[in-house]
């Protein structure tokens, strides 16, 4: 039986792991390779590494951090941030990532999803979507550029389109919940999970092990991503997995 995945997320800025609240007020949270090695030893199922300032500052992907992580950690590594061309994708994979996460650039140029899927396979393409709840647009609006720019895209519509174009997985981040430790947006996660055939990674708001169990069960997510609670050691991945296992969820 396929296991539910627990994914610590390393948000990178200037080569360091950082974490804020609702995409603001960043605090330092350590060295990426050190953190990745710690999480791998703790039983993390995958590492997601995002250069959160890349699209805002127009920089390319943070290849060096990816290389350092890939040399030390033998679990899957998804990297994103500022990837805007097939060459960026190739460079990110060569640095040691298994999959790339496309966000802002996928909205600006949906052809990038198609081109990446065609050349590297759909299993290589994660489309990350930052969204916020609000009136209209089916309940949730998509944002780009690290959550600073609102679009006219609805979450579910964009998710379906991204999958049609070649996304092999979706990473959904609730900006309202990000860093709040108030729990995931279960409703939005489930709405997308029911609208697309590909696996879903839920993100934004994890504060307790109960939140994570809820998004994997009621939210119908295949994987739960979290940052703050892991970075500040509020929750150990090994304890979390034991808890999920006791509740009958398949975990590694």
């Amino acid at each position: 039986m396929l296991c539910k995945r627990i994914i610590p997320c390393l948000d990178l800025k200037d080569g360091r792991v950082v974490k804020g609240t609702r995409f603001e007020g960043l605090r330092d949270a350590g060295d990426p390779a050190e953190q990745a090695a710690f999480y791998s030893a703790e039983g993390a199922d995958e590492i997601v590494c995002l250069d959160i300032a890349a699209s805002r500052e127009g920089r390319g992907p943070v290849l060096r951090a990816i290389e350092r992580i890939a040399e030390r950690v033998f679990i899957p590594l998804t990297a994103g941030g500022g990837i805007s061309s097939a060459e960026d994708v190739r460079a990110t994979l060569l640095a040691g990532a298994d999959r790339v996460s496309l966000n802002t650039q996928a909205v600006l140029n949906p052809g990038l999803i198609e081109a990446t899927a065609e050349r590297f396979g759909v299993q290589c393409v994660v489309v990350a979507i930052d969204f916020r709840a609000g009136a209209g647009l089916g309940g949730w609006r998509v944002f780009t550029h690290g959550g600073t720019v609102p679009t006219e895209l609805s979450l579910v519509d964009w998710a379906q389109r991204a999958v049609r174009l070649g996304a092999g997985e979706l990473l959904l981040t609730s900006m309202d919940r990000d860093g709040t430790v108030d729990g995931y947006d279960l409703e939005a996660t489930r709405a997308v999970a029911e609208a697309v055939p590909v696996p879903i990674i839920a993100s934004g708001g994890a504060g307790t092990r109960e939140h994570i169990a809820a998004v994997l069960a009621e939210g119908r997510a295949d994987a739960a991503l979290a940052a703050s609670i892991f970075h500040y050691r509020k929750l150990r991945i090994s304890d979390l997995k034991a808890y999920l296992g006791e509740r009958g969820m398949p975990v590694r």
């Binding site: 030893a41 290389e67 590297f120 396979g121 092999g168 696996p199």
Partner: protein, 221 residues
């Protein structure tokens, strides 16, 4: 279920000398992780796009992600199709990973029919009846018959794929996993071996699998 450090796999007896293992570069996928994992278990990976290197190789890994058709065309253009058939016929160990395993079979139906290396009986088709597609994540691989690659009756490995092998000879099917239908996960026919999952991304279990492959290479060379 208790996670253990992938670093733990290096605590075993160190290899007497690094064993050269050829890793075929056909311009696709993440070779660094295969390289790093092989180095970790005491091999000296030689990444190459030169098919002539196979003549002197004692162990070869065929990695790969992406499209079967593209990969096969590239292998053909680089001279690897003939070189791999000769290499396999000589009895030296060959290990295909993910798409690299799929390429060992006779044919694929991804974007029109395409021949494969034909080293194993069977064909590669899109997965059907799975809860979600692609099949992404850690799944339990159960050993169905004795082989060399799997060290335990059941272990978790990392999968990421949309296509799988079908009509595999029963005698070659060493390990399978369940995701809706049963999916061939480990195939072995003498010196020709493959895993549908990514050992290089499967933590300790994956490093141990590479160690067992190195053991086969040492015994053969």
């Amino acid at each position: 279920m208790a996670p253990s450090s992938p670093e733990g796999a290096t605590d075993r007896r160190p290899a007497p000398r690094p064993l050269p293992i050829v890793v075929i570069d056909h311009g696709r996928g993440n070779l660094r992780s295969v390289q790093a994992a092989l180095s970790r278990v005491g091999a000296a990976p030689v990444v190459t796009g030169e098919s002539s290197v196979l003549a002197g190789a004692s162990g070869v890994i065929l990695p790969g992600v992406g499209s079967f058709h593209d990969a096969f065309t590239t292998l053909e253009n680089l001279g690897f199709v003939a070189a791999l058939r000769d290499y396999a016929a000589s009895g030296r160990p060959l290990l295909g990973l993910c798409l690299g395993m799929q390429l060992l079979f006779e044919s694929a139906e991804e974007g029109g029919p395409c021949p494969g290396l034909g080293l194993l009986r069977g064909r590669v088709v899109q997965l059907e009846g799975t809860p979600r597609l692609p099949h992404i994540g850690w799944n339990l691989v159960r050993r169905r018959r004795p082989g060399v690659l799997l060290g335990r009756e059941a272990d978790h490995f990392f999968f990421v794929h949309s296509y799988g092998a079908r009509d595999v000879e029963d005698a070659c099917l060493v390990g399978t996993t369940e995701y809706g239908p049963t999916i061939p996960a480990v195939v072995e026919k003498g010196n020709v071996m493959g895993t549908q999952f990514h050992p290089e991304r499967s933590g300790t279990a994956g490093l141990e699998l590479f160690q067992r492959f190195l053991g086969v290479v040492r015994r053969c060379s």
